[in-house]
Symmetry: C3
Subunit: 164 residues, 3 copies
């Protein structure tokens, strides 16, 4: 549980499961493990930022570069990281079982003309690299602007990781 | 051929190969199997909805939330599912060889302000879960709004599945 | 080094590493290999087009269908291919180690109403198929229009390949 220890040292809190709005049905898990036996992969569904109690951070919803500042969007990407780690923790029991970050696909709900999508998704990458270190935490990455995200989330991130 | 049997029980028809518009060159297969020997993966190219004869469903093209209603977009995602299954059937011979749905990446041609992209992509997920059941059919998923899709398709879906 | 030989025969030049703008921090590699031992996969971060010296092709930045013509966007996708090959070459030492192209995810910075995203991404696919041939070069593909890309790039492409 070295990763959990590092989270504690940094006073970072993994959020509770998402409080899904009543009319939203999400018929899929946050993490899909394959194959059933190890070692294998975890496919991580697109996650957004959550507050510690699993609620949406209402102050930072909307288009980045318009309703949401670049600084707040970086923070949203960092919260998205914690949200992904919470799902992986629930699926795996121990975050040390994530032995390699492979692919990170970052989507920014970009206002027209907002192009610093990499600067936003750095909020996620910086967190992962801080916790896993360069050897295990390093990942291929994309950071694009999309036209709409569920619930007006400012950021969503999908990933694939290796597990042992 | 249990999946094919379930399709028949539900009177679902897998469409013919896409009738590609004359000026559109698509130099890639709908399904890429790897490795050549089994077990392995099938990488599924982005598919859109098709009618049984392989033609585009012209009544449901365009932006979801504007030209296309949410209900029609859900149906488009379901048709996209059938379209993906037709390609997998042609590539594998028997849909039972798909032993695990891993990653589903849903793209909605969203009108400005349309955020219920998960509700749309549920048309795909509900079909897969109905046919494969929760153990094999469950998948990591993303459902985002993109600004344009080929041919004005309302929905496109890319996927990765495990094959035996 | 058969692929390198084919590149030379076609007088194609792999660009130098990207000259990253001063204020842009990209805390990730262009290629992530996994597992450390072979055979395995290379996850390729989203790449854009580069000139041979690693600078951005300033004449073809912006929205495809508005500032950038479809023909120039096809060329941008071809340059993106060379850019991806340069990164793979640096990561692997020999491009022959790429034994299978699996997944290509093409993103076009589309102006409103521009839907021929497949025609643009063909600039990438045509290059790969020319160099690797149909058996190894064939890949599952998506080609979508996104609302914004980093630095106003007209095209970005992410990929997954098999390596030996």
């Amino acid at each position: 549980m070295r990763i959990e220890q590092r989270l504690a040292e940094r006073e970072l809190i993994l959020p509770e499961p998402m409080q899904t709005p009543k009319n939203l049905v999400l018929p899929f898990p946050w993490v899909r493990l394959w194959p059933p036996h190890l070692p294998g992969r975890a496919f991580v569904s697109a996650h957004g930022p959550l507050l510690p109690d699993g609620s949406l951070p209402k102050g930072i919803l909307g288009k980045v570069g318009a309703e949401v500042s670049e600084t707040d969007a970086y923070e949203a990407a960092r919260l998205t990281g914690l949200s992904v780690l919470a799902s992986l923790q629930r699926a795996l029991g121990d975050l040390d079982r994530v032995t390699g970050w492979l692919r990170v696909f970052g989507m920014v709900n970009a206002a027209q003309g907002f192009t610093n999508t990499p600067g936003v998704i750095n909020g996620f990458s910086d967190l992962i690299l801080d916790l896993w270190g360069p050897e295990h935490g390093v990942h291929a990455r994309s950071a694009i602007g999309v036209s709409e995200l569920p619930l007006g989330l400012p950021v969503e991130i999908e990933a694939e990781v290796a597990i042992d």
